[in-house]
């Protein structure tokens, strides 16, 4: 598990980016950051903890219809601390754009392509985004992103 000292260490690495702190059950520290400095946060983590220390475990897009925002959460696993931290960002729902981290962490290729195909989040700088990565053609032809909440599929 993640001791307090380790959380302290991560916090001061990311000190000037964190907007709000939170905990995702059971004990994953979560940090809200502004959407367009995701690249600096990942670069900082890689540089401070080393190349073999972090891998991107998961990219989750959540469509929050009520407050008109798409929440993009990056789950990054830190091998030395043996726990996963969550970096939460939120982008406007009508024109969801966020810088891609595929050149920093090539592991994000599958997560970004899927989030684009299912939720329509545009990852700027990732040239492998295409519709039909997962979704069948008759849904893509109607230009629908199936995981959007206001969509009838």
């Amino acid at each position: 598990m993640l001791e307090v000292s380790e959380i302290k260490e991560i916090e001061d690495i990311l000190a000037n980016y964190i907007v709000k702190k939170d905990v995702v059950k059971p004990n994953r520290p979560a940090f809200y950051i502004d959407a367009n400095n995701i690249r600096d946060v990942i670069a900082l983590l890689k540089q401070r903890l080393g190349d073999e220390a972090i891998y991107i475990s998961n990219i989750v897009g959540v469509d929050k219809v009520s407050d008109g925002v798409i929440e993009v959460n990056y789950f990054i696993h830190l091998i030395p601390f043996s726990n996963t931290i969550v970096i939460k960002t939120s982008i406007p729902r009508d024109n969801p754009k966020i810088p891609s981290i595929i050149d920093l962490l090539p592991g994000a290729y599958s997560g970004e392509c899927e989030t684009y195909d299912l939720l329509g989040v545009e990852f700027m700088g990732n040239k492998y985004l295409r519709r039909g990565f997962f979704v069948p053609t008759d849904v893509t032809s109607k230009n629908i992103f199936p995981l959007r909440k206001d969509v009838k599929v």
Binding site: V135, P136, T137, D138, P146, V153
Partner: protein, 140 residues
């Protein structure tokens, strides 16, 4: 079942988006423990020689037209066995946007094997039922 393929039907197996639970049961059904080769049943090296098409999995829309093309590529006398609850009408995945909802919506199905996944013996017995080669004990 026509006389020509009654004694050596070859299988073609197509996974139209299954959780591969049925696939490993089809795999177990063909290993020597149950040994379908006693009845001449074995896997055909290519679609062109296949007689029985085993369909597993919920037929996703993307895999549906491949299933149709595969069915047309098979020679004249052909039978389709839908293995598992998903191949019948989608099983627990009913209502999802990306499935065509059952193999009988794409190809004519001759026999259904219920279960999730069905036991290997049950898959073998369904083939024998289709072949009506055996006074199959129990069940109809």
């Amino acid at each position: 079942m026509s006389k020509l393929i009654k004694y050596s039907p070859w299988l073609v197996h197509f996974n139209t988006g299954a959780c591969n639970g049925c696939d490993i049961e089809v795999l177990a059904a063909i290993t020597p423990l149950y040994d379908p080769e006693r009845y001449g049943v074995k896997l055909s090296p290519s679609v062109r020689h296949g007689d029985i098409l085993i369909v597993t999995g919920v037929v996703t829309k993307k895999a549906a037209e491949r299933l149709k093309r595969l069915y047309e590529q098979m020679p004249g006398i052909k039978y389709v066995v839908a293995v598992g609850a998903c191949a019948y009408n989608g099983g627990v995945f009913k209502g999802s946007y990306s499935i065509a909802g059952g193999a009988n919506k794409v190809v004519p199905v001759n026999a259904y094997v219920p279960g999730c996944p069905p036991r290997p013996e049950e898959i073998l017995r369904a083939l024998l039922l289709l072949l009506n080669r055996e006074k199959v004990a129990g069940g109809e």
